[in-house]
């Protein structure tokens, strides 16, 4: 188990009802963290439309996560 801080934005934050939480998760990669949060908050957004960053650096869904990392979950963007 790893201790991961997860930050939610926009739609994800509203759905989770919280902007940030620290979880103990059994996760090797970013997508494992994403699925754990989906299970926890009963969300069905597919990862394909979303983006992820680890410790403020854009990452891929199969990027490895380490104990103590902060994972940022970005719903689909619509800037401008």
């Amino acid at each position: 188990m790893k201790t991961i801080t997860v930050r939610y934005f926009a739609m994800f934050r509203e759905h989770a009802g919280i902007g940030e939480e620290t979880l103990s998760v059994d996760a090797d990669t970013a997508v494992d963290v994403f699925h754990a949060t989906q299970h926890r908050h009963r969300s069905t957004e597919p990862s394909g439309h979303c983006k992820v960053a680890i410790n403020d650096v854009m990452a891929d869904w199969d990027s490895p996560v380490s104990d103590g990392d902060t994972v940022l979950l970005f719903p689909p963007v619509a800037g401008g």
Binding site: F9, A10, M11, T44, P46, A53, P76, V77, G79
Partner: protein
């Protein structure tokens, strides 16, 4: 340079920073809040950004444009917070020796900003409802 701000965007002051005696062309783009989207009457729009990565990604986009067009000067400002109809949400300004580069670079920058920056907008509708733009559609298509 890219900036995030909660204050009114002032294109006229911003464009002066792009002045260059070697520049013969200036192209500016502004995204304005409009009163409708996909059949809904929109009253206002709320922008949320994750600034640290919006800045990093925005600088990357500007660097890509300057790599294609070496004599380019380019600058961008994106606003966040609650915006009203007619407000300017994003401004992109580009100056260069010739107009072809100016148009192409300006278009490249705004197109990339829209899909790559961690910025989200929530529409507030005349019927009292609200919704995150794009997200609802993505969820439906899941």
């Amino acid at each position: 340079m890219i900036e995030m701000t909660t204050a009114e965007i002032r294109p006229d002051e911003l464009r002066q920073q792009l002045f260059d005696p070697a520049a013969g062309a200036y192209c500016g783009f502004e995204g304005w809040i409009r009163n409708h989207n996909e059949g809904h009457d929109v009253l206002r729009l709320e922008y949320e950004a994750y600034e640290p990565l919006a800045i990093t990604e925005g600088e990357k986009i500007l660097a890509e444009a300057r790599e294609c067009y070496p004599h380019l000067k380019a600058h961008c400002v994106h606003r966040t917070g609650m915006l009203e109809i007619g407000d300017c949400a994003v401004w992109v300004g580009v100056s260069s020796p010739h107009r072809d580069e100016a148009f192409q670079a300006c278009r490249y920058i705004i197109d990339q900003l829209k899909v790559r920056l961690p910025i989200w907008k929530k529409e507030h509708y005349a019927d009292g409802h609200s919704g995150w733009v794009n997200c609802e559609r993505c969820a439906k298509s899941a």
